[in-house]
Amino acid sequence: MANIRQLDKRRKSVKNIRKITRTMELISTGRFKKAMDRASAATDYTKRITAIVQDLAKSGTEVSHPLLVQHDKIDSIDMLVLTANRGLCGGYNGSVVRAAIARRAEIKQQIESGEISVSGKRGISAMRYAGIPIEKSYTEFDDKPSFSAVARIADDLIERYITGKVDRVDVAYTRFVSSSKQVAIVETLLPFSSLELPTASTPTASTPGSVEASSDGASGNKEDYEFLPSASAILEEVVPASFRARLFKCFLDAAVSEQIARMVAMKSATENAGDIIKSLSRRYNRARQSKITQEIMEIIGGVEALG
């Protein structure tokens, strides 16, 4: 008898869990769409900045900036790890932390110094558990990372790099490839290399993105620009600006990927709950049926004994 009641109780609780996971799935679907919109809205800036860089390069400016220079001797490597504040998102946090720890072990073989900064409560506790000292931790980045907060981190890194306190900066995050593929990777952000510049001698060696920018942008119809104050002074500003945009993109990617990971995890949790309910119901019905049969048998037995 107790078994039946237990089964029923379990079935009820699984039903409740299914309700919760389904709601979480819906919430993260909504958040994913918003995060996705934000991420695509941010590409406009990158596109335009690439167009300016293209125009600068066309004017024959020598491209040099302290952020682009690789330091001769690498003594210190900083790492920034981007994780989520919340769990229940499958392997999302785990894979980023794993990638970060693996890279750290690699670095530690050669170099001792370097700060590790972590964003997201999950990453912070995972790093603490792994016994890795954390220099700075951020928990303010959720599904809507704000540029000003990211810019602060970026400026901090720029300052440390330019003043020579750090010689390389890595960032571990989940890159958004497509809505069905996100990969946890560790990328080197500084020295800054993702500023794609077609050199004066090889103007064809431009990225697909920049080709697009120049064909739909204004630079397609060769304009003679006036540079204020000068092309090189503008470049000095363009490099940090695109670095900030690059770091911001990492945060946006991480936010989008987190929502997708949670969506997928909650979807499978809901499905799994459905399966459990099905098997519990079957067991419950079977137990109930056998109980009824047994009772009938008992009654019949009693009648026969009387008769």
Partner: protein, 132 residues
């Protein structure tokens, strides 16, 4: 379109496209002073400073705080790339003052750090000046 009698002006921040409008005249804070752009301005790329951007359309003037960046004037229009575009009332004076204090404490021992310090100081000062 700057070829017509209006200036097509687009302001983008790393977060989103903040402003996409046409106006009669656009006044921007450049690194060394103000620059007004009227229809038919020759193409240019300029470095922005920190300060007030004014968009004049007819008799209405809208004012924004521009947080550095660049302006690119093409035959098609004006692209303004800035870190942040704020209304004057959105500026947090207290935060700006804190920024200024922090910027003042930067040790300027090399040309790079000196440039960094100057930049941070002017940025904070411009903000404080415009904050309401």
């Amino acid at each position: 379109m700057s070829t017509n009698d209006k200036v097509h002006c687009v302001v983008v921040t790393p977060e989103k496209t903040e402003l996409d409008t046409t106006c009669d005249m656009l006044v921007l804070p450049l690194f060394d002073g103000e620059l007004a752009i009227q229809p038919g301005r020759a193409p240019m790329v300029g470095r922005l400073g920190f300060g007030m951007m004014r968009v004049r359309d007819g008799s209405t003037v809208t004012e924004w705080f521009v947080d550095g960046g660049f302006v690119q004037v093409t035959r098609q229009g004006v692209n303004v790339l800035t870190d942040r575009l704020l209304k004057a009332e959105q500026i947090d004076r207290k935060e700006a003052e804190e920024d200024l204090n922090r910027a003042m404490l930067i040790k300027a021992s090399s040309p790079e750090s000196l440039a960094l310090k100057e930049r941070s100081v002017t940025q904070a000062q411009a903000k404080i000046r415009l904050a309401k």
